[in-house]
Amino acid sequence: MLNKIKTNKVASIAILLVAAVVAVMLRERYLALILCFICINSIAVTGLDILFGYTGQVSFGHAGFYAIGAYTSTLLAKNFGLNPLFTIIIGMIVSMIFGIIVAFPAAKLVKHFLSLLTIAFGQMVFMFVSVTDKLTNGYSGILNIPDVSIFGYPIKSNQAYFFFLLIITGLVLLFKRNLINSRVGRAFIAIRENPHAANGIGINVRFYKIVAFAASAMLTGLAGALYAHLVGFISPDTFMATQSNLFMTMLLFGGIATFLGPVIGSAILVVVTELMQSLVSYQMLMYALFILAVLFYLPNGVVGIAKWAKEMLTTKRQGKSRVNTTEYHN
């Protein structure tokens, strides 16, 4: 009980600190944009987390879903003049449909072959959007994507868009928590731990893998659509394989299969990327070093460190030494 109150205290202090930082950042247009990027990446990485963290299915092609969401929403909003709020939802659904299509073959494959299939998928989407000039305007990209408007009131400033994104991110995290705590989520975790045993206790492994892909693609597609309407410009460059690896880095760095891991990971990576804006050529090296650091020293990411610190504190008090930091999932 005492512990619970203490954690609540720590949590509320953390929330207040974050809120204070956010409030300061919102005073400037550029800093507000960074906050928006953090939200968008959190959504996309949460999608990846459902697939990789909870279900144990790897994907190196999430940039593909990101692109599908972004291009669907953009094209519908621009060519048919539909309300962006509506097209974002369609982008999400189209991305989900592609997720299901990919999942049909992907649900049969393991490890290496799944990695390859997802890489191939990501490349196919990238190539499609870069060479189909008539539809997507090729490498030059699409300009002047309309802003989102709610009940006729357009969201123009980054600050306003941030609050819009904050609500969506909250909903996404809520969705993730409820999904993971439901029957479906428990099936995901069972599949991650041991697909054969999961099959043995009556879980339809193939079906749940497809569900995981669909949910994951849906969230990443949503993030892509939100990105397009935030920046107002999309080109194939954003959806290269590097983007998929970036999502992966964010997820691993934050900590996989955790509630806040994706948010923390994307916040850190986005901020570091922005800080290194002058050293763009070092960016990829930095991502690589982030991945290697996670792989070799902190397999559970930043959230793992936090948990470890907490455990250290509590075990010290109880005089036990049950600390296990290096624990890999699956």
Binding site: P105, L116, L117, A241, M284, A288
Partner: protein
């Protein structure tokens, strides 16, 4: 026209085949996957360029020196990074991630060392076109084809006839029994990563004059080679060659007769189709649990 296309297809196909062969070797020896093969090719090309153009070494020396360096690089990656990671109990997916970050590091190293521009590899032969039986052929293409075929044949005899090759195959088949028979399994594993990188680096030197040498030259070749390896049956050396040639032909003829914009799109679509319909590949390798 058709003859030139076939030669071109054979050339690019054998490049894919040779790089894909490396994937197969690594998979057979350690059950792992490296996604850095394409970047090994790129590093090899840059090293070859440096030796040949800046140090003025003869081409054959530059090629062999590059292969030696690449062999050591592959060995070091396996012995230092991959082994450490496996000792920590990481799943296969994490090893794949590790090789992805290695490939990013390699690309950055190449960028710092040689810059971002496309570098021209000086021509190896004096004539730019030679005439064989009335057909005009580019000698560099023939060289690439020749080197690829030589490497494949050499590897075949190395794996089947030499003692070390046989012990490599034994270690791949059953590590426990092999080590009981006195085979140094860690060394054979390291060697297979080394050979994979060596082949990729060596072929990088010979494709340098054809495509030009630049930072991201390896990524597409690496992925196509991978696709070829899957089509042939992942883990099967000969399958990787057949698969690589298949993609070489698909790519060349699709871009010649159908559409050049969508050639890579079509290649990957074929790959996905094969993975759906025939996941064990042409040579029936086990891919699913």
């Amino acid at each position: 026209m058709v003859i030139q296309l076939i030669i071109g297809a054979l050339m690019i196909g054998s490049v894919y085949g040779l790089v894909g062969l490396g994937y197969g070797l690594i998979y057979k020896a350690s059950g792992l996957m490296s996604l850095a093969q394409g970047d090994m090719l790129m590093i090899g090309a840059f090293l070859g360029l440096t030796f040949y153009k800046h140090l003025q070494l003869p081409f054959i020396v530059a090629l062999l020196l590059t292969m030696l360096i690449m062999f050591s690089l592959g060995m070091v990656i396996q012995r230092v990074l991959v082994t450490t990671l496996l000792k920590k109990g990481a799943a296969t997916v994490y090893v794949i991630l590790c090789t992805i970050s290695i490939s990013m590091v390699l690309q950055n190293v190449a960028m710092f060392a040689w810059g971002t521009n496309v570098m021209q590899f000086p021509p190896i032969f004096k004539k730019s076109v030679i005439n064989i039986l009335g057909y005009d052929l580019v000698p560099e293409n023939l060289l690439a084809l020749g080197v690829a075929i030589t490497c494949m044949i050499a590897l075949h005899f190395f794996m089947t006839k030499s003692k070390f090759g046989t012990s490599m195959r034994a270690a791949a088949q059953d590590p426990m029994a092999a080590s009981a028979l006195g085979i140094n399994v860690p060394v054979t594993r390291g060697a297979s990563w080394g050979i994979a990188c060596m082949l990729a680096g060596g072929i990088g030197v010979v494709v340098g004059p054809i495509f030009g040498v630049y930072m991201s030259m390896g990524s597409m070749i690496g992925q196509k080679a991978f696709a070829g390896a899957v089509i042939g049956g992942y883990g099967n050396m000969y399958g990787a060659i057949v698969g690589g040639l298949f993609f070489g032909f698909v790519e060349t003829f699709v871009s010649a007769y159908l559409t050049s914009n969508y050639k890579d799109f079509i290649s990957f679509a074929i790959l996905i189709l094969v993975m759906i319909i025939m996941p064990t590949g042409l040579f029936k390798e086990q891919v699913m649990e």
